[in-house]
């Protein structure tokens, strides 16, 4: 027999959130979306902890609460670090792309020069 308690409902929602986050993390190649998906997974884990703490509504366990409290702030800091790294990677990729296009332009110019030289 399955009793639909409040903590059971929270666990169910957490599993759905975890599935959404995992799919978002694995199916996209965009840094920003990957970070958002990681945050969704983190929230799912916090929800599991809160649900575990609230198993008996008359005797709420303070231990998972303390873990979630610090976890939220650390998740925010980690997201900031990830965003900074993603921005740095995008900048680096852009500069590499710029160099490549410059080299290709030079090459095409050189071939054009040589071909024009041959026709003369």
């Amino acid at each position: 027999m399955i009793l639909m308690t409040q903590s059971m409902l929270f666990s169910l929602c957490a599993v759905i959130l975890l599935a959404i986050g995992l799919i978002g993390f694995l199916l996209t190649s965009d840094f920003l979306r990957k970070l958002l998906a990681l945050n969704v997974i983190g929230m799912a884990i916090f929800m599991v902890l809160i649900a575990a703490a609230n198993n008996d509504p008359n005797a709420v366990d303070p231990l998972p609460h303390a873990m979630v409290l610090t976890g939220i702030v650390v998740a925010a800091a980690g997201t900031a670090l990830g965003l900074n790294l993603a921005s740095k990677i995008v900048k680096f990729a852009r500069s590499i792309q710029g160099e490549n296009t410059a080299i290709e332009n030079k090459k095409s110019n050189a071939t054009q020069d040589s071909s024009s030289g041959q026709t003369d």
Partner: protein
């Protein structure tokens, strides 16, 4: 070539979605079949609550029972702050004068004093009711973000003072534990009679350290990549 890669991408998506739904189904079965949580640790927490110096069980867990965890948490914050600091230091801040009264500044003028009061209150009641260093720190960080959006410069991260602010929580923790260790020879164990005031001392510095770190994280994204 292009169609085949598209097809393989689609098969990959199908495989990933089916695997994730299998994991979700497994987790659901596990949650339904789990034995009832016996709350054994809760009994231990409440049995020794009068020895911790605070009456809020969450604060007692954070800063007395599992103080080592929180101690490492402050170290994590310092690591993040050190990691994102270069992004802030690189940029030349645009010199913008507050000539006209902006909307954000008008909001900040009302909310910043209120939030600072609220943060102080949250820090103070943390020993007896829900509240404490982390909640107060997030409120203070919100204040700093509001001021930063209104182009008010609050913390200059290139000075040595700001570095002390960032490492304040960890330093307070280390100082308290060294002093306590030299007196009682117990490692990270607060003496019962002064535990409450020591916890408040650590929380006070931790509030400023965590709020400065969170604000630094925001600044590094906001100003560091213009």
């Amino acid at each position: 070539m292009k169609t085949s890669s598209l097809v393989s991408q689609r098969t990959m998506a199908v495989v990933i979605i089916s695997l994730v739904s299998a994991i979700a189904a497994l987790l659901l079965i596990a949650f339904i079949q789990q034995p009832v949580h016996d709350n054994a640790l809760r009994e231990v927490v409440f049995a020794n609550l009068d020895k911790t110096g605070v009456s809020n069980p969450v604060t007692a867990v954070l800063l007395n029972y599992r103080a080592f965890d929180t101690y490492l948490e402050f170290a994590v914050f310092l690591c993040v702050a050190v990691a994102v600091l270069p992004y802030v230091l690189d940029v030349q801040l645009p010199k913008q004068k507050l000539s006209a009264e902006s909307q954000v500044l008008a909001i900040a003028k009302i909310f910043v004093p209120l939030s600072i009061l609220m943060a102080g209150y949250l820090l103070w009641i943390g020993s007896t009711q829900p509240g404490g260093a982390f909640q107060a720190a997030s409120l203070l960080a919100g204040c700093l973000v509001l001021l930063s959006l209104a182009n008010v410069r609050t913390i200059d991260f290139s000075t040595a003072r700001s570095r002390f602010l960032l490492s304040g929580g960890l330093l307070a923790f280390i100082v308290v534990n060294i002093v306590v260790f030299s007196q009682t020879f117990c490692f990270i164990t607060l003496p019962q009679n002064i535990a409450g005031s020591l916890i408040l001392f650590i929380e006070f510095f931790a509030t400023f350290a965590v709020s400065a770190s969170l604000f630094l994280c925001f600044e590094s994204i906001h100003k560091g990549h213009l």
